[in-house]
Amino acid sequence: MDSTQTQTQSGAEDGSFVTPDGRTIGAPILEVKDIIVRFGGVTAIDGVSFDVRKGEIRAIIGPNGAGKSSMLNVINGFYKPNEGTINFKGEILPAMEPYLAASNGIARTFQNIALFKGMSTLDNLMTGRMLKMKTGFFSHCIYFGAAQKEELEHRERVEHVIDFLEINDIRRTPVGRLPYGLQKRVELGRALAMEPDILLLDEPMAGMNVEEKEDMSRFVIEVNEEFGTTVLLIEHDMGVVMDLSDRVVVLDYGRKIADGSPDEVRSNQAVIDAYLGVSHD
């Protein structure tokens, strides 16, 4: 499905506009400026700037080692950049803190799956609700009353996510026992349970077969359409990138070499050069 193209629709002053398929893409809610990240002698990110608009699906692509995951880590607060700023929801910060990121609506999935292996699917998803659970320790000691009420409320919300992702059958299964594809889906569920403003997906399709990829793509699009969630994803599968994203950022050796719509990027010589010799699926 063709989800991008002309940004020449009539726009409001904040730059928001409506895409051909009826989604509203707003002003940038996230902007990273001149980010530099160094580890010892290696410069992982070398002065990268780009923005992400509210409601869009943005892809970060690039050859291996280009610094894509590191970029997500910076946005998440897991890495602190040596230089540069992050502008999120109007606040300009030199670095993000994990707690701040989480409480401000940034959720994330990981390349190598960061689920809580000792817990069930349901419990994993419920941990996504942690920030929204406010009842005190002593309430939980007796459970009946305030704590139980809150638990059941959040259980209902999580069940919506479970229905959405069609993982009802594996609710009680310890996630360590699930096959890889399902684990990735559960991880997405946990991120969705946070009701995030922006969803960071680190290679959500990695290791999946064609059917699983289709399912995952469907979920990402539905999340974006139904809830208006902004999505920033790293992906290697060019087909997926072209189909899903509104705009694409291309990184190579820690630098941004292209930034625009999928078609623009696809025909960009620098991008083609960067990928020459690198096989993609």
Binding site: F78, P98, G118, M130, L131, Y143
Partner: protein
């Protein structure tokens, strides 16, 4: 063959989240509680109380405490003995300084002291893990035992062995030499039952999930907004609270008099750790099963070897060491989730018995 879940469908999330969703489990528990509260006190005697039931109950509570820290939150602690001592000596100081205080309050306050000390010695867990943390808790263990042995204030400058003064609940003596086994048993049972219920509530809700998230992947937990600092310290606090209460119970309700270097040394820390490994890490049932095992095994071995085969008591102790050590290794290899998982698997198998599939 025993009983099944078929036909029991839950129509609300509330029912689904109940502690014992299977009706027969509830009946079984109800029956056990009925017998425990209303039958045993009438038939109990000194031997059964002191050799079997009191140690089982108290060590179950302590094991539950350690399990919260180790099994649910994934931190390691070898300082259990030290925290037990805090509970015991704390209760002693309270009772001798304020003789009017109700014993229930004393015991809970002793747990509070232990919780505070636990948080203090748990601070290193924010920077270190694994056996580095184990060493830090060892520091707690050795320092605390030394302190209760040498610093006279804790035993009112008399002998470092402290004796529990008599106290009553509802007019019935529960501590001191004249207290009846039934009274001591019932009192202990009430405390253990209440705090077990509280623990079960904690682990099934937000608090327990936070602990388990830290255990499984603390980095991911942080990115979900869970605070590692607060969560770990809370685990240390709750865990030490339970262990402290256990220590106070050991002193007041079971042994009657203790000396820090004998009753609460490093061997106690190992004892409780072994109980939760064998019983099952991260399981309330496991804490009880493991404590039962560790508390009862010396008794059974004694009956078998010493009384049965005329083996000397010293040798029986050696056999106990070999047996416990081997079982630890066995459980770690074959069934890291301990007896609790074995129990669960047995229940599953019994559903289908006698059919193998």
């Amino acid at each position: 063959m025993f009983y099944r879940e078929t036909g029991q469908f839950k129509s609300t999330y509330g029912d689904d989240q109940a502690l014992f969703p299977i009706i027969q489990d509830r009946w079984l528990l109800g029956a056990i509680l009925l017998v425990a509260f209303f039958v045993v006190p009438f038939i109990i005697n000194d031997y059964w109380a002191n050799a079997i039931l009191l140690p089982f109950l108290i060590y179950s509570l302590i094991a539950l405490g350690l399990n919260i820290l180790v099994g649910y939150c994934g931190q390691i602690s070898l300082g259990t003995g030290g925290f037990m001592a805090v509970g015991a000596y704390g209760s002693y100081k309270l009772m001798t300084s304020f003789p009017e205080l109700n014993i229930v309050f004393v015991i809970i306050a002793s747990g509070g002291f232990a919780a505070a000390v636990g948080v203090l010695f748990g601070l290193p867990s924010l920077r270190i893990k694994g056996f580095y943390l184990a060493v830090a808790t060892l520091a707690a263990q050795f320092f605390l035992i030394w302190m209760f042995n040498k610093v006279g204030w804790f035993y009112n400058y008399e002998l470092s062995q402290i004796t529990s003064p008599p106290r009553e609940v509802f007019g019935v003596l529960v501590t001191g030499a004249k207290a009846s086994p039934a009274a001591q048993y019932l009192f202990t049972l009430c405390i253990v039952a209440v705090f077990t219920w509280i623990a079960m509530n904690l682990v099934r809700g937000r608090v327990g999930r936070g602990w388990m998230a830290i255990r499984d992947m603390d980095i991911a937990a942080e990115l979900l907004g869970i605070r590692p600092l607060q969560t770990k310290l809370l685990a240390f606090a709750v865990s030490s609270f339970y262990i402290g209460i256990g220590g106070a119970l050991i002193f007041n309700l079971w042994l009657g008099s203790v000396e820090a270097t004998e009753a609460f040394d490093i061997l106690q820390s190992f004892f409780v750790l072994f109980a939760i490994i064998i019983g099952g890490l991260g399981s309330v049932l496991g804490s009880f099963l493991g404590a039962a095992f560790m508390a009862l095994m010396p008794v059974i071995l004694k009956l078998l070897l010493v009384d049965g085969f005329s083996v000397s008591a010293v040798h029986a102790k050696h056999v106990e060491f070999i047996l416990v050590g081997s079982l630890i290794i066995f459980f770690l290899i074959k069934e890291p989730h301990g007896l609790a998982r074995i129990w669960g698997i047995t229940k599953e198998k019994l559903r289908l018995w006698p059919f193998p599939y």
